[in-house]
């Protein structure tokens, strides 16, 4: 950059001082005019160039241009400063504290069971399953008889039943399995359905037992459905629920409406070598399931010679407890806002 002569430097400094002191746009325009228009300092300098010896002409021209450029930049900057002045003054905040919380926005939340049911519904509907509903108050026929559990069958003791009349013609359903036969009545194979809902057992309530809880039934009926399909579907279910591949173990389990019947254990997703959730066994008993008993197919009006199927039951309350580490089942139906509010997350 061109060095200015002491004379020119002092001229520039004077002009810049005037700019800095200006307090209105009008003053700035006047300063500009004074310096740059005919008769102004810069104009004079430029006008004098032809009179100078040729060796000095170039230097003088550059000096004039530099003064002009710096002056114009200063005027522009000062002009913006003056324009923003009022806004800049309003920036002032006293004692601002970035850590000070604002009052919290009121939170709504879906019940954790609703959330898990939706996840499962979405998972299964994406595989072409439909979602069915069944009544909480159920006929003995659907809850027991049609499921191959006749009267005086010891399996009735396995499910402490709430009876709505002394004979138990009407009961509170003890499982979601009655929806199996209701589904068969409604649809012809291929049937792929799940049925989440409330179920009831007449038992004393404590931290791990409730007389009212949630289950989800699953049913597939088609030609040539096998145990291999059942295992595959259960693995898909567990992958959906836990977000990773889960090793499973199928072992015999007795439920009169399936044959063969299984207990499906999942390798504990929470530990490697035993924890309180799996009672140190590394397995969690999660999914009772099996191949639909031919008597049940018949009760649903489906020919067991042509079709086979599998069914499974998932303890939704238990799954919710596992997922969130909830230690007391009674919280689920307590309606306690302090509990419900914790499930506000939407992602």
């Amino acid at each position: 950059m061109t060095d200015l002569s002491p004379e020119h430097a002092s001229t520039l400094a004077r002009l810049l001082a005037q700019v800095a002191a200006a307090s209105a746009a009008e003053d700035l325009r006047a300063i500009g005019r004074e310096a740059l228009e005919k008769g102004g300092v810069v104009a004079d300098l430029l006008a004098s160039i032809p009179t100078l010896p040729p060796a000095e002409r170039k230097g003088a021209g550059q000096a004039a241009n530099r003064i002009k450029a710096e002056l114009e930049a200063a005027i522009d900057a000062r002009k913006r400063e003056l324009e923003d002045g009022a806004l800049l003054a309003s920036r002032k905040v006293e004692g601002f504290d970035a850590t000070l919380r604002a009052p919290r926005v009121e939170r709504g939340a879906l019940h954790p069971i609703t959330q898990v049911v939706r996840e499962l519904e979405d998972l299964f509907t994406s595989m072409g399953f439909e979602v069915l509903d069944g009544p909480e108050i159920e006929l003995d026929w659907y809850n027991f008889e049609a499921l191959n559990i006749p009267r005086d069958h010891p399996a009735r003791d396995m499910q402490d039943t709430f009876r709505c009349d002394p004979a138990g013609e009407l009961v509170l359903r003890t499982h979601t399995s009655p929806v199996q036969v209701r589904a068969m009545e409604k649809r012809r194979p291929p049937i792929r359905a799940i049925a989440p809902g409330k179920v009831f057992r007449q038992e004393t309530t404590d931290a791990s037992h409730e007389h009212t809880f949630h289950q989800m039934e699953g049913l597939v009926v088609d030609e040539d459905v096998s145990v291999g399909h059942l295992i595959h579907t259960m693995k898909t279910l567990l992958r959906g629920v836990f977000g990773k591949d889960i090793e499973v173990r199928l072992r015999p389990g007795y439920f009169p409406f399936v044959e063969p019947g299984f207990e499906l254990d999942a390798r504990c997703p929470f530990c490697k070598s035993g924890c309180s959730v799996c009672k140190q066994s590394t397995w969690i008993e999660l999914l009772p399931c099996g191949m639909v008993h031919e008597n049940v197919l018949r009760a649903g009006g489906i020919d067991p010679a042509k079709y086979s199927g599998f069914a499974f039951g998932l303890g939704l309350s238990r799954l919710v407890m596992l997922r969130y580490g909830i230690d007391d089942v009674r919280h689920l139906l307590s309606g306690d806002a302090r509990f419900l509010r914790q499930f506000h997350r939407i992602g």
Partner: protein
């Protein structure tokens, strides 16, 4: 049920298999194992001692000071308080450092000034029985210093099996049945039982008469030459291991046979029967029997009795009678081994809440051929232990039982298809044969002979045998296969529409209105129904509630949510809850007896009471806004609010509104302030006094009502004019009527109406309020001017004037 590893080994060679291996086999192929435990592990630490010398304690009459050889270099000095301790005895010694049951930690100590290095134990101290009169005297064949467990053959493991998983397997209620499973899985032979039939004696038979249909078979064996005595240690140890308390030989043997073969049986003191014959009959109502547990049972006609003549001596299949039990002095027996109908035994056990080892087994449809084997087994074992015992006379064996053994045809292709695994015909036959089924091939099918022990209930059809093949092959060896089906969405039927609707309601309320979703019991307490004045309505109720007054099933959802809102007021100023659920109306049951099911959503908002204590305060306003927003979101923007006629009794008599679909056909929702009288009753009182409003939204009505078409309004091309209209409206004139006239006065130009002010009092006449609206006027083809606004206001003034309202001009 507890299973002893050593006991299993009596029936099948377990060499090379640990108890854990056996448990794993059961788990994967047979039944659920709840745990495997070492039996009395402390017996490893307790050693055999030989009492070398015994002297009286210098300072205590009842104590002895013994020198005991416990296999160490020097005999140990031990102080003992038992009266039977004496030189020459072999005893069980817990040396210092040993832990015994009951958290007893043995230390070297001084007893009355004499040093004692350990404890000589009684059976009770070792967890082996009740006897504590003296120390346990061990056989002299035991070796001093060796662990007691090893010397007495008490090294055992207990495998605990979940009874529920054996519900369908009558053959697995004894050790032999489970041993048969191991034999099949491990391809080892089951050790044979002596097949010789029951010997017969020369004396007279005890006559047996079956008069009850509940008794299929009854074998009665008279036995003489017995006396109650202590059972041999091996027998006691096995019974201990499975949790049965040894009592005396006869009772122990009866228990042993039950745990061995799974067949319950009973020993009567024959003298007490006094020569009367056995009669099996149904009980008479109110007949009494004192059972073995010392409780007098009041019987009913559904129970079945074993009688001596007419006198009841046992509750069939459940428990023996106190009067005829074996006790000191018994020298002759009548052994009962029978087969009873499961349903009869189950009903009695259930009714009397008396579940016994016997009733639990009979409930499972025991093999009717088993009693003969079990009776012979009992007698054989008794004679081995008590050679003087002999069958006194001819045994009775009566009953109309039939052998249930049957043939089932199995198509190997069906096995492969149902399991989804490629097993050869030969492999399928081999697995079935390993389980003691008879198998023969016939025209591509397998003809399988199912023995009686599996044929009573468990195996009747081909599918049952598919399970047998699958479980022995092991399900873990089946390859997984994805389902294959047509790619089609599930049907969009009413169920689907309801589910989508419920999701939309939940989302609008939880996400947009920021309420908390609750779920409740379907039960409602009598107290709550009383508080809500709903007690008189018909409710479905259970006959066996978990608690008194908690038997009824709700007709609607609101009560549950109100109750929860009140509970929450204990720890929150503001409570905003909703629940989507079902209610049941028994008076509208269908032909099959199913009560009508309704689906609805209840919303409750409870706020701290306002200063003005108005019933149409903040809670009411907010709930109403939530309901209107919800309905709008569901396609009922033009739902019409009007006075609610029929309503929950707890609704405020005035502050309530019903929302009907635009066509008037469906009542979609009712919003209401909670009547202060009900609020007080429900407990919104004192510190919990609240401003409460609620709403019930009918999912069913929403499903039936046609929603308004979805659409789009073009954005305005000309600006609108905002006019504020304030009107003095008599209370008798509904706001909706004013809005109707305002809209009509606009002649199509009114685009929006919003109430922004309501007040009464001041200069206003009584029974009237001032309502003020922001009104937006807009035309599609021009910008409106002051002239149009004035014309509008003039029309408004005229129209409202006709119904008694006054336009307030500024």
């Amino acid at each position: 049920m507890k299973i002893s590893y050593q006991w299993l080994a009596r029936h099948v060679d377990l060499s090379g298999l640990t108890a854990q291996d056996v448990a794993q086999d059961f788990t994967l192929s047979t039944a659920e194992v709840e745990g495997v435990e070492r039996f009395l592990p402390h017996l490893d630490a307790v050693v055999v001692g030989r009492v070398l010398e015994r002297e009286k304690h210098p300072d205590a009459d009842k104590l002895s000071v013994c020198k005991v050889d416990v296999g160490l270099a020097e005999p140990q000095q031990i102080v003992c308080g038992a009266p039977n301790v004496r030189a020459g005895l072999h005893v069980a010694v817990a040396l210092p450092g040993t832990r015994l049951p009951g958290d007893l930690h043995i230390k070297k100590s001084k007893i009355r000034g004499v040093e004692s290095c350990g404890m000589i134990c009684s059976e009770r101290e070792l967890g082996l029985g009740e006897e504590h009169d003296g120390i346990w005297e061990l056989p002299l064949s035991t070796k001093p210093g060796a662990p007691v467990a090893q010397e007495l053959g008490l090294v055992d493991w207990i495998i605990e099996i979940d009874n529920k998983s054996l519900t369908h397997r009558p053959d697995l209620w004894g050790h032999r049945g489970l041993a048969r499973e191991i034999a099949a899985m491990r391809k080892r032979p089951l050790k044979p039982l002596d097949p010789s039939p029951l010997a017969s004696g020369s004396g007279a038979a005890t006559p047996v008469e079956i008069r009850s249909a509940g008794c299929l078979r009854y074998i009665a064996v008279p036995i003489d030459g017995v006396a109650p005595r202590r059972s041999p240690d091996w027998l006691r140890a096995l019974l201990f291991a499975v949790g049965a308390r040894p009592i005396d030989l006869l009772v122990d043997l009866s228990n042993f046979v039950m745990h061995d073969l799974g067949q319950p049986n009973h020993c009567f003191d024959r003298a007490k029967l006094a020569g009367r014959g056995i009669v099996v009959r149904d009980a008479r109502a109110d007949e009494r029997l004192l059972t073995l547990d010392g409780i007098e049972r009041r019987l009913s006609s559904g129970d079945m009795l074993i009688c001596a003549g007419d006198e009841p001596v046992a509750l069939a299949g459940v428990m023996g009678g106190e009067g005829s039990k074996v006790q000191a002095g018994t020298d002759s027996l009548l052994l009962e081994v029978a087969c009873f109908l499961p349903a009869v035994v189950r009903r009695t056990a259930q009714r009397l809440a008396l579940r016994t080892d016997s009733s639990t087994r009979f409930e499972k449809h025991l093999d009717p051929t088993l009693p003969a084997q079990a009776a012979a087994h009992f007698v054989r074992l008794l004679k081995e232990i008590e050679p003087a015992a002999r069958v006194a006379g001819a045994s009775a064996d009566v009953g109309a039982w039939r052998d249930p053994a049957r043939e089932v045809h199995v198509r190997p292709e069906r096995v492969r298809r149902l399991l989804g695994v490629d097993l050869s015909d030969a492999r399928i036959a081999e697995i079935l044969a390993s389980l003691d089924f008879g198998v023969s091939a016939q025209e591509g099918e397998l003809v399988v002979s199912v023995p009686s022990r599996r044929a009573t209930k468990d195996i009747g059809i081909e599918q049952d045998l598919v399970e047998e093949v699958g479980r022995i092959h092991r399900y873990g060896n089946i390859p997984t296969r994805p389902l294959v089906a047509p790619v089609e969405p599930p049907p969009r039927d009413e169920g689907w529409r309801r589910r989508m609707l419920v999701r939309a309601v939940q989302d609008r309320l939880a996400r947009d209105a920021r309420l908390l979703e609750a779920l409740s019991y379907s039960f409602v307490s009598d107290a709550l129904l009383e508080q809500l004045s709903l007690s008189a309505l018909p409710h479905v109720a259970v006959v066996n509630p978990v608690a008194e007054g908690f038997s009824r099933i709700r007709r609607g959802v609101l009560g549950s949510v109100l109750e929860k809102a009140r509970d929450n007021r204990h720890h929150a100023e503001r409570v905003a809850l909703f629940e989507v659920g079902k209610g049941y109306l028994p008076e509208q049951a269908n032909a099959r007896g199913e009560p009508r099911e309704i689906h609805e959503c209840a919303i409750v908002l409870a706020l701290p009471p306002s200063k003005e204590q108005r019933s149409d305060g903040a809670a009411w306003t907010q709930v109403r806004a939530i309901v209107e927003d919800l309905l709008a979101g569901l396609g009922h923007e033009r739902a019409v609010a009007g006075p609610a006629q029929a309503c929950e009794p707890c609704a405020h008599p005035i502050v309530r509104a019903a929302f009907r679909s635009a066509d008037g056909a469906h009542e979609l929702a009712v919003a209401m302030a909670l009547d202060p009288v009900f609020a007080q009753r429900l407990g919104f009182a004192g510190d919990l006094k609240s401003d409460v409003a609620c709403a019930v939204v009918s999912i069913d009505a929403l499903l039936s009502a046609a929603s308004e078409p979805r659409g789009y309004q073009p954005l305005p091309r000309f600006p609108g004019v905002k006019v504020d209209v304030a009107v003095v409206v008599p209370d008798a004139v509904p706001a909706a009527r004013c809005e109707e006239l305002l809209a009509r006065s606009g002649k199509g130009l009114v685009r929006a109406l919003e109430v922004f002010d309501v007040y009464r009092g001041g200069v206003l006449p009584p029974q009237a309020r001032s309502l003020a609206w922001h009104v937006e006027l807009r035309a599609d083809d021009k910008t409106l001017g002051e002239a149009e606004v004035q014309k509008f206001l003039e029309r408004v003034e005229r129209a409202l004037g006709e119904i008694g309202c006054t336009l307030r001009r500024q």
